[in-house]
Every structure is written in C-alpha cells, then in structure tokens.
Amino acid sequence: MIAWSGRRKALMILAFIGPTLLGILFLNIYPIIYNVFISFTNRNQYHPNPDCSVLVTSIIEPKCWPFFKASTGLGTPYTIQSPAFANYETLIGQLATRPGLIAIAEILLCVVPLIVAGQVNKYYNRKISRPISGSGVWIIGLALTILIGWLVNFPNALDQLQTDSDFFIVVFRTILFVAITVPINYIFGLAVALVLNTEYIKGRTFFRTAMIIPWAASTMFIIMSLVWQFFFRDVGVINQLLKIVGINGPTWLNSPTYAFAIIILVNLWFSYPFCFTVILGALQAIPADQYEAAEIDGATYWQQLVNITLPLIRPAVVPAIVLSAIGAGGFQMFGTVWAITTGGPSRGAGVPGATELVMVYAYKQVFQFNAYAKAGAFAVIIFIFLFIMTIYSLRITRITEGAFE
C-alpha cells in the first residue's frame, strides 16, 4: 500500500485525465466557443478574414494562429456586430416585438389543454376508479385546443412568428417533418414487425432480411436518394407509369407540397427497417404465456395488441423514437433532402425553400451564401433547442436512470 501525499495524488490523477481534458477542451468546448464568437460578428463572404490585432479574435480565430496562413485578401476584416446580437435579431425576426410575444403566448395557450389533459390522466391513473376514460380526457383536451386555436386564430399567430424570420420558418417546417415522419416510420415498422413475428409466415428469415435491405442501402444514401429523385422526375419512372394509364403526372419536385411528401416517403423507405428491427426485437422478448393467458381470458387480437404488445415493447421503442426524432432521420435530417431537392423548390427569393429543413438551411447559409455569422447564430439557437429537447427526452425515457442507481 502506497501512502500518497495529496499533491502527488493530484498530479497523478491529472496525468491520467489531462489528455482527456485537453481533448474535450479542443474537440468539444473550443468549437462551441468559436461558433458562439462568430455568431456575434459580421463575418460573411465580404468580410471573410479576421483582424488578428484584436486580442479576443487572435485567441479564438484559428486563422490568427501561427501554424495557419494569415490572409492577405482585399476584404475588410470582420468585426463584432453592432448591436452584438444583430444576427440573432435577424434570425428570429419579430420574436422580440410585442406582436411576436403575443403570438407566442397564443400558441402556448393552445397547448395548455393538452398539458392539463396529460396531468389529469396522470392523476386518475393512480386512482382505482376514474370518472372518465383516459381517451375521453384526451378528446376533451384536443377539442379545447382546437377551440382555443380557433379563438386566438392559431394560423395567424404562426404567420406572425414567421414574418421576417427564417428561423421560425425552418424550425416549424422541421418539427412538422419530424411529427409526420417519425410516427409513420414506427407505425409502418410495427405493422411489418407484427406480420413477420407470426409463426404462420413461411420463410420469415428471408422476409426479415429483405426488409432490412433499405437500411443497408442507406450507407450509400446519396445514390439511393438520387434513384428516388429519378423516380419522381418530370420524365421519371412514376410519371412514365402514370402515362401508361392515361394520367399526366405532375412535376413532383417543383411542387412544394409534393416535394415535402416525397422526402417523407423516401425517409420512410430509409428509416422503417430500423424501426422494424427495434420493434421485432422487442416483440420477441415478450413471453408467449402472456398471450396464452389473454386468449384463455377471451381477449381479441386488438385487445392483446393494445394491452400486452404495445405496453411491453414501449421500454425498447420509446428511446428509439426519441433518438430518431432528434437524430439524422428526424430533426437533423440533411443528406436525403439535399440529394433529392437541395431544399427546394423555391418559394421565392430571400425565404427558405419548401424542403429547407434546419440542417439544409444551415448548410446553405455556410456553403452557398458564406453567411458564417448568421449560420453561427442559427446553430447556437438550434443547439439550445436540441439541448432542451434532449434533456426532456432523457427525462421522459429515463434512459440515464440506471446511471444514478
């Protein structure tokens, strides 16, 4: 047994964790600090280079570090914006104005009945009997939400927020994309998993393997996305097939609505195998005696599905749903959309395209418009948004619960 002095012990610990700390500092913390710094500047394609005589810039900006090349371009260096949060103001448009705040209050008001319904159900779930069924509470909550939405003119409040605000346009659109695509993916995955989990299907292994093919193909998603794009081209496969039956198909990718539907469809094709695999695994973990007991009690297939299958696969599926929603197939969707529509079709100059989701918007700001500072501010807002979402999802899924036990 070695008796360490406090100093030696601390130095030893430092020697072990020092490299990791440095790694975290430079790989995790520094990029965030750099991005936040850029978000307060006017850096764009016309002010691309730093003024290395400014102390803060010389510390944070890599172009000022001795091992990078100093720029000798003709552009004037970028500086801190005046006011410093100007990029944030540009992005969130009228949020900080009175009409913007009223619009937010109206939207939040619409959600209140649903939150109350959830709490009411939570309360009655702990009771032996309840005066109204859980579904009934939800229906009342939904009806109240629709009523309040009508009273406060919900669409008008949404329009108000989207005026002069790229941020709200792309975030609302992305949330809509997630809200549609994730349930569709999991419902389709559940349906396929239920079918292929029954023992009556011959060649189940073959079909299960076949179902996973799109997932394997997603490793080359650009090519597969381009194949899908070809299907929906004006002279593509779909329109050629429609022509055979005498229908002149639309120009799918030029229509904002169709283009949005197509990226949901293609995302379904890429994503459902994952949902299918997760759900199939969870289904196989359900003990058969549960179903046998239910059958003896005379439960129908639907009752078994609702009261046995879904509750028992929930622990496996909910974390997967949350991860899908905030991951590359949901909120952070980029590749498929970029390959198929590049964020288009255009809805006009100066406004995001019809399929311009948050990641596509950020990419275009940086790589097409070189609006580094604006993209930086956008990334900061999205980071805060996703951070809150992640914390909330960790709470509802209790993924990290075991870590504290």
Binding site: G6, P66, G75, P345, G348, A349
Partner: protein, 419 residues
C-alpha cells in the same frame, strides 16, 4: 488541494493559447529560390476547373503538350464538385490548386477572400494584356486596376437548334421578339405532343445565367450594376417574369444541362439555349446544328487565375507560364477549333480558320447583343435571389411581381452587407 491544480491547469492552457495567439501571424517567409522548373526539379501544378466531356478533351491535349515540352512539370486537372466551397477550406490550409479555371464574375470575391494573386506582381502588364487579348476580355480580368487572371475565351449563350428537326424559320428573326418565340414554342408543342421547341436549362431550376437572355432581352440593363444598383423591381423585369410564366406551359418543366443534352440528342427538344461548351457533345452525337441569337445574354469571360498558394509554394511563375502557354495564339486556335469557343486571344480570334467557324458567327452575334458580366463582388449577390425568384415564378409559388420584388430586396440586403 485538487482544486488548486485544476486552476493551475486552466491557467497553463489559457497562457498557452494566448502565447500562441500573440505570436506573429504571418505566413512562412517566402524562400528566395528560383522557380522549380528552371532548376529541373519535378513540380506538380494542380488546376481546378469546370470543364467536362468532349470540351475537356481538347483542353487536356494542350496541357499534355506542355508536359511533353517540360518533362519536369506535371499538370493535374481536377474538377471538385463545388470549387468555391472547396477553396475556402483548401486555401487557408495551404492546400488546393495552383491555378483556378473559372468565369470572371468570381474575381472580386476571390480577391476579397485572398484566394488569388495579382498577376501584376508576377510581371504581367496591362500592355501585355491589351496587345494579346480582346478588349472585352481584358476588362473582364481587371478589377481595382489590378490584373487577376488571363482570359481564356469569351462566351455567351444562344439557341442551338437541330437542323434535322427544325429550321431557322421556326424561330423569330428578331432576337428580342419574345412574343414570336412564345407563339412558335406553343405551335411546336401543340403539333408535337411531348416535345418542345427550346430547352433552357435555367428554367425549372435556379440558374440566372441561363435566364439572363430573357430578362435582359426585355430591357433589364443587368441584375446588378457595378455601383450596386439592382434592377429587378422594374416593369421590364416584371414583363420578363410574366413571359417566363407563360413560356412554362410550352417548355420542359424540369431542366438541367444533362436533361437538355439528352433531349437534344433523342429529338425531344428541337433547340437548346446554351453556349459553346455544349457543341463538342452535340457534334459527337452527330447532330447537324445551327446557332441563332435570342435575347441578350450575359457575356462572360472564362479565365485562369493563379492562387495565393502557388505564390507561397514558388510555383506561381510556372503556373503563369502554363496559363500564358494555354492562352497563346496557337493553343487558343487549337482549342477553339475543337470546342467552337470564341478565343480571348486576338490573334487566334482573327485566324481565318476561326473566323470561318459557324459557331463564331452564331455565338459572336449573341455576344454582340449581350451584357458584360461584372467581376465586382456585387455580382455575387445576384445569383441566389434571381434564381429563387425565377423558380418561384416557374412553379407558381409567387407572381412575377412578388417574386422579383423579393429578389430586389434580397440582393439589396446582401449588397448593404458588403458596403
């Protein structure tokens, strides 16, 4: 106790960062050595370009000949998918090309970013330029009284039509008669279901370069001028937008270079609003073509620029020698004969063989009607908004008035950011 070491560690890291930041941020001193080629050591010159297909073949032959004449020099032709984006990563890292082959509209932007070298510092003089190249081409490579590139060719788009399918009579005789073009496109589409008179690769996508003949043909003096004035909320622009909407009924709804090229080859399109770069492919496909000016196109100058990195690597002199070689009379003549381009080199342009080319007459006539493409950074602000506005008009998302007013605002905002 441990907290004390944490503080110490933090102080050390911060001190290290500050010390590194306070160090003089300059590039490595340029060694005063002779260009590598003259010392006989092997040297590789990388060119990033946007040439493709058969058009590239003739260009490649020139560089191959240079390598034969200079055995120590290797020229690598590379076509990254997105050159502007690749440059912004490669140049600060000291990597990337020695030469960039790009249109002159990027000169202002690249100079501001510090990607390219003032050729005056390498000994290129205004006298050399004016005595070697066409006046329009010289104007295209000079910005803020500095020479940023050598001009390769001048280009403007026109309607290239398939003589086996249509004749000159199927197009208006007056290049600004857009009503006539619309009528003829309508008649052709109605008489030939599923086929179209003209494919414009800019319509249906977001490509203001190919849309320019329409806007300028209706009297718009330019999207943006050198002073940063924008001309999209004008009656002329609205008239052009309205025509584009009307024309969408008699044109392919989706278009791109590849779609137009394929449609010309298989007879779906009788004509293609395109430039000299498409001719080599059409000739390979055995198409007998004619060229007619239509509208007022952008007149662009294809140029070759030398990067800052070439200067730092001591390859700038060799790079300059290569681009001078490529743009000399003999090589410009050779490339123009193969690719049917309009050479920027005056002696090559005056060569009787070149003057005899039908493409020189056709594209030359179109260029004579055209609007020179600016090389100021303001020019960079026009592409996105005009493309988005035209696409919104084309797909019906916005009326011409709404779309062009929004484009006007977007460009003015971008230019205000520059100023």
């Amino acid at each position: 106790m441990i907290k004390k070491y944490w503080s110490l560690l933090t102080v050390i890291i911060l001190a290290a960062m500050i010390m590194s930041a306070c160090a003089t941020a300059t590039t490595a001193p340029v060694a005063t050595v002779e260009p590598t080629a003259t010392t006989g050591a092997p040297v590789t010159i990388t060119i990033w370009h946007q040439w493709s297909g058969d058009y590239l073949t003739a260009i490649q032959a020139v560089f191959t000949q240079y390598m034969t004449d200079h055995p120590t020099v290797t020229i690598v032709l590379d076509a990254p998918q997105d050159v502007p984006s690749a440059l912004q990563v490669a140049i600060p890292a000291g990597e990337g090309p020695d030469i960039i082959g790009w249109a002159n509209d990027a000169i202002g932007k690249y100079a501001i970013n510090g990607y390219i070298t003032d050729l005056g510092t390498l000994g290129v003089t205004q006298d050399f330029l004016t005595s070697t190249y066409e006046p329009a081409a010289v104007n295209g490579v000079v910005w803020q009284d500095k020479i940023w590139a050598l001009p390769e060719s001048q280009e403007a788009i026109a309607i290239v039509y398939n003589k086996a399918v249509v004749s000159e009579a199927d197009f208006p005789t007056d290049p600004t008669d857009f009503t006539g073009l619309l009528d003829k496109a309508k008649s052709y589409a109605e008489a030939n279901p599923g086929k179209y008179l003209v494919c414009n690769q800019g319509l249906g996508g977001a490509d203001p370069y190919h849309e320019a003949p329409i806007y300028f043909g209706f009297g718009v003096p330019g999207y943006v001028d050198d002073a940063g004035n924008v001309f999209l909320n004008t009656p002329e622009a609205t008239a052009a937008g309205t025509w584009i909407k009307d024309f969408s009924a008699y044109a392919p709804q989706e278009a791109s270079y590849d779609i137009c090229n394929a449609g010309m080859t298989d007879g779906t399109f009788a004509g293609w609003w395109t430039g000299p770069w498409a001719i080599a492919n059409l000739e390979s496909a055995g198409i007998d073509y004619g060229i007619l000016p239509m509208g007022k196109p952008f007149v662009g100058i294809k140029t070759l620029m030398i990067t800052k990195n070439a200067a730092d690597r001591n390859t700038a002199d060799i790079a300059l020698d290569i681009i001078k070689y490529y743009t000399n009379q003999a090589n410009e003549t050779q490339v123009a004969l193969a690719n049917k381009t309009i050479p920027a080199n005056t002696a090559a342009l005056n060569d009787p063989q070149i003057q005899a080319l039908s493409t020189i007459k056709g594209f030359g006539a179109s260029a004579n009607l055209g609007i020179p493409m600016a090389n100021t950074p303001y020019a960079d602000a026009q592409w996105g908004p005009v493309g988005d506005a035209t696409q919104a008009i084309w797909n019906g998302s916005q009326t011409p008035e709404e779309a062009l007013a929004a484009a006007q605002t977007a460009i003015e905002t971008a230019i205000a950011g520059m100023k």
